[in-house]
């Protein structure tokens, strides 16, 4: 006797998106990057062809126009994070800012010590930089995280010793949106006299990120994560209480107070500044709206599907982030089924290295559930109608793929998948 399973046709138009005013495909991957806000583009345009001068040309009006654009942007960024303008350095993005902060401190303070503390869930821009420093003889401690994604402050306390010169912990995680206790980390570092850097790429512009309230010494900022342009970012470098010094990693003229040489990307910087100004004005209202949409998406999905698990703390989380594992369904096949929606997955099949998400692994999520995860990044331009459409398409695709899944079938038969001796298990 055979059981024939009727698989419904994969539908992309069942919900008549046009009728609801939805434009396909829907972009819901705002942690990867964000569309530019039209107000940002408008602000940038004059700096390509009219005010095109090199901001370092001190002797003519073309240069002064460029410089003015840059300094206005610098003020806007400083204002957003509670810093002074002298403390904002422009870079090519948060990856460069992370490199500058970590390598810059490591080299400058190497007489003082050679120990750096970070966490296992950091972005590769931090982790790979730390790995390189290990090759040069620095000692790096990678703090574990708890099941909710947060570090244990006791672990941090214990890890610090008299050779520790830097703690680098990200404010908000790019995969699971979890927020680390930055204020407490900052307080601890200040007490122990250790420099504290935070990669705030995903946090700036979305939640309050004041460098003084949180005792932050260095902070990385990225333009394209907050509706600004790609290829530009900033690094906050504290000047007072204490003064932080950095060795530059790029030489060539001594721009940005000797910390970052190179002609400034004036249009990009202007865009970053405008993006910060917009964020400052809209943040309170926007973060509330983002949380509302995210909770709507979460509830609509979780109320309908069983065996769906949220990865990471819900209480300490970015308002627009959601990361869910759907048991018995593989991530890439799920993405394929919702191919009119842009999101991403922690599945190995979607990564270049065929490794599942190391962030999910660090939470203690099993590899099978890491393969079954989807990251949703709701942003400024997403609507309620889009959220409902996405939820419904996800539900229908998960249900369809579970009918195709031998794991779901076995689970329904009461088999504990953890007891099975799998043919493909690594020995």
């Amino acid at each position: 006797m055979s059981t024939d399973v009727k698989i419904p046709q994969a539908q992309t138009q069942t919900h008549h998106p046009d009728a609801k005013g939805i434009k396909l495909p829907i972009y819901m991957d705002n942690h990867a990057t964000t569309p530019m806000d039209p107000r940002v583009l408008e602000e940038m345009l004059p700096y390509f062809m009219e005010k095109f001068g090199n901001a370092a040309s001190r002797n003519h009006s073309f240069g002064w126009a460029g410089e003015e654009g840059v300094e206005t942007a610098r003020e806007r960024i400083a204002k957003l994070v509670g810093a002074t303008t002298k403390e904002i350095i422009f870079t090519s993005g948060a990856t460069e800012s992370d490199n500058l902060a970590i390598k810059g401190v490591a080299e400058m303070y190497r007489e003082k010590g050679n120990h750096i503390i970070t966490a296992v869930t950091e972005h590769k821009a931090v982790l790979d930089t730390c790995k390189r420093l290990e090759k040069y003889g620095y000692r790096v401690t990678y703090l574990p995280v708890q099941k909710d994604g947060l570090i244990d402050l006791e672990d941090l306390k214990r890890a610090m010793d008299d050779k520790t010169i830097l703690v680098t912990i990200m404010w908000a995680n790019n995969e699971i949106g979890v927020l680390q206790p930055v204020d407490e980390i900052g307080k601890l570092c200040r007490e122990r006299g250790v420099i504290f850097h935070t990669d705030a790429t995903q946090a700036v512009g979305k939640i309050p990120t004041d460098v003084n309230k949180n005792n932050i010494d260095l902070m990385s900022i990225s333009g394209h994560k907050m509706y600004g342009p790609k290829g530009v970012g900033a690094l906050y470098v504290r000047r007072k209480n204490p003064r932080v010094q950095l060795s530059a990693i790029i030489d060539g003229g001594g721009h940005e107070r000797g910390m970052r040489s190179g002609t400034l990307n004036v249009p990009g910087i202007v865009g970053l500044g405008k993006a910060c100004a917009i964020a400052q004005e809209d943040m309170a209202q926007e973060s509330c709206r983002m949380a509302g949409l995210r909770n709507r998406l979460r509830d609509r999905i979780m109320n309908r599907l069983d065996e769906a698990y949220i990865n990471g703390s819900m209480e300490n989380r970015l308002p627009g982030n959601l990361n869910i594992s759907f048991a018995y369904v593989e991530g890439e096949s799920l993405l394929m089924g919702i191919n009119d929606i842009a999101v991403s997955s922690g599945s190995a099949c979607t990564s270049a290295t065929l490794e599942p998400s190391y962030v999910l692994k660090a939470l203690g999520t099993g590899d099978d559930l890491a393969h079954s995860s989807i990251r949703f990044g709701i942003g400024r331009f997403n609507t309620e109608a889009e959220v409902d459409y996405v939820a419904d398409r996800v539900i229908e695709t998960v249900e369809r793929l579970r009918e195709l899944s031998p794991l779901y079938e076995m689970a329904k038969e009461g088999i504990n998948l953890k007891d099975v001796k799998w043919a493909g298990e690594a020995h």
């Binding site: 055979s2 593989e330 096949s333 394929m336 099949c349 099993g366 195709l404």
Partner: protein
């Protein structure tokens, strides 16, 4: 990464999804892969004991679109073939048919493994069912 039309077709219209009776002596079941690897395929065949022709095939897969397509194609190909003809199916045939990129070749390897595992399971059943006899059919 964009998929070939054939992969998309198999994903949207998978052939032969379902299950056969594991306990039946005519049925061979192959279960390959592991959940931690993100790929598990179950492929089952029903073989005519007189002709050794695979009359029915069913599959279920936990895996990416290429894995689903590979196993769906595998069930299509083995149907109507004898057990020995099915053993001749090579993973590179699947790669060619579905235009799989290099990073997805392992999906086709798993599908070939699944065919072999199902046939192996069926063969084992035939061996254990036979009385000790010299004229065991191949």
């Amino acid at each position: 990464m964009s998929y070939s039309d054939k992969v998309i077709d198999h994903y949207n219209n998978p052939r032969n999804v379902g299950s056969l009776d594991k306990a039946s002596s005519d049925v061979g079941t192959g279960l390959v892969g592991a959940p931690e690897c993100g790929d598990v395929m179950k492929l089952q065949i029903k073989v005519n004991r007189d002709t050794n022709v695979i009359e029915e095939a069913k599959f279920k897969t936990f895996g990416c679109g290429s894995a689903i397509a590979s196993s769906s194609l595998a069930t299509e190909w083995v149907k109507g073939k004898t057990v020995d003809e099915a053993l001749a199916i090579k993973n590179m045939d699947i790669v060619k048919e579905l235009s799989l990129p290099p990073v997805k070749i392992h999906c086709s390897v798993l599908a070939e493994d699944a065919i072999r595992a199902a046939i192996g399971d069926w063969k084992k059943k035939q061996e254990s069912a036979k009385p000790v006899s010299v004229e065991a059919a191949k």
